[in-house]
Symmetry: C2
Amino acid sequence: MKYAIGVDIGGTSIKYSLVGEDGSIRKKEAIRIDKKITGEETISRLGRALNDYIASLGVKVEGIGVGCPGAINSTTGTCDYSSNLHWNKLPIVVMLKSITGLPIKIANDANVAAFGEYAFGSAKGYKNVVLVTLGTGVGGGLVLDGNLFEGKDGKGAELGHMIIKEGGRECSCGLHGCLEAYASVTALAKATREAMEKHPETKMIDYAVSKGGRIDGRTAFETAKLGDKTAIEVREDYLDHLATGLINLCNIFRPDIILLSGGLSNQKEELTEPLRERLAKVHYGFKRTPEVFVKVASLGDLTGIYGAAALILK
Amino acid sequence: MKYAIGVDIGGTSIKYSLVGEDGSIRKKEAIRIDKKITGEETISRLGRALNDYIASLGVKVEGIGVGCPGAINSTTGTCDYSSNLHWNKLPIVVMLKSITGLPIKIANDANVAAFGEYAFGSAKGYKNVVLVTLGTGVGGGLVLDGNLFEGKDGKGAELGHMIIKEGGRECSCGLHGCLEAYASVTALAKATREAMEKHPETKMIDYAVSKGGRIDGRTAFETAKLGDKTAIEVREDYLDHLATGLINLCNIFRPDIILLSGGLSNQKEELTEPLRERLAKVHYGFKRTPEVFVKVASLGDLTGIYGAAALILK
């Protein structure tokens, strides 16, 4: 059996583990990201930690896959820019290759997540997979005809910056009406806050108080389950816009499956069921098009490690 | 050198020619589509005509590629549905294979056009190509990482049915706010007609009269060149919406190149220059993303034949 190391670079730590082509996985290890040292020093530390880890394994490792946040050029193997990590033109692949002597591949974290779900998760067995991450922003990953599609210099699949409403809400990117401005958890929390101000009778206030004042993606969804009118309105409006984005992705790609990941995907059927209903109503009703499944991602915390390892194994 | 036959099925005739892998092409031949006979009979006639044609060539033919309008299932090789030709579940590939004994491939005409431009036209040398046809509707074709991407059962790349304005203009598909409802030649002609009614002083009226009363995609573009205010407004509004669609395609795919084809692409630089300006202003200004070229398709009438042959040759 073939084995690879999957490396998942996050905002505060770098997790890694050995993954077998059958989906078996060892206990994951991690190093903390010390923001006081440079990106180069961080990658050097990672390389040495990986060497120690690999030496302890006693199996042949085919290579190391890396998922990294930010703007990744998968051709040159560099992290061009990561606002969170303050990395700039960091030659991750060249450095790790020189330290470990192994083949190294890298991709953006959302792309890696899509590939992980395709290789080992909810999208296993499907050829065309569109992954939409609903988090602070809205990210995307594409597996098309069984291959990870990243676009020019790894800069494609920015599905959150698809305009669904010309002249609509301002997006963090400077455009107006992007899917991200409606379907991110940030956008949902903002809409929740606005609705709470307008409707002081809503049970969302009790819910937020019970969570220490925290208003997030759960506030509207959880309170809507209690039948609260305002919460239901916020949720329905959120789902309407998200459904528009999914309709677009259906028509653009006609994938086998759309996977939702990120914080809000914890809502599972509460998220996917109403989306399926909307898709069936506005789209499939009028045109004989092959069905697109809508599911949530299944690998959870391990998506990044699985997907990174899959860059080598698939 | 390898040779294939490219077959371009249109609304009234079927054109075909021998194409060499170097892009050389013989004089094209054609048979008329007789709407009084069935689709099966039409394909039988085509098969016999191709046999005669191939026998006359004196070169080895690798196979026959077919571009066909309507809903094509490239996996099963059938034309599932063509409203224009009144074809239904027509097994084109099976029939042509049995008549000619050669390998046959088929794809939707817009997909074939994208592949033709990639293999032999304006997009030669680029790996990621998005083609947008601006005609009666708005169609799309995708070449991603050098492969024709068609989506599940060949039903993807419906780029015209990407919603750019929720709650916007009604589209022929039943949705609201699709790119097609703003950027098709049909939509442009409609906007032109409405502007002429509102502004009887516009020179577009003289232009239309000089064309025997015909109002089409040229009316606003040609009259705008004379400095006519109303025509300029119609053109600018058209370009604004089309630019929104192209921004989305840039972010979704980050292709090397977007190609515009169809009737309106005859405007060449008059179409691409203002689009490039819009893209540069609203998109590239704020994010360091690799440039996407915007050009018009170059193969004209031969796109279909070239692209169909490329299905075999590439």
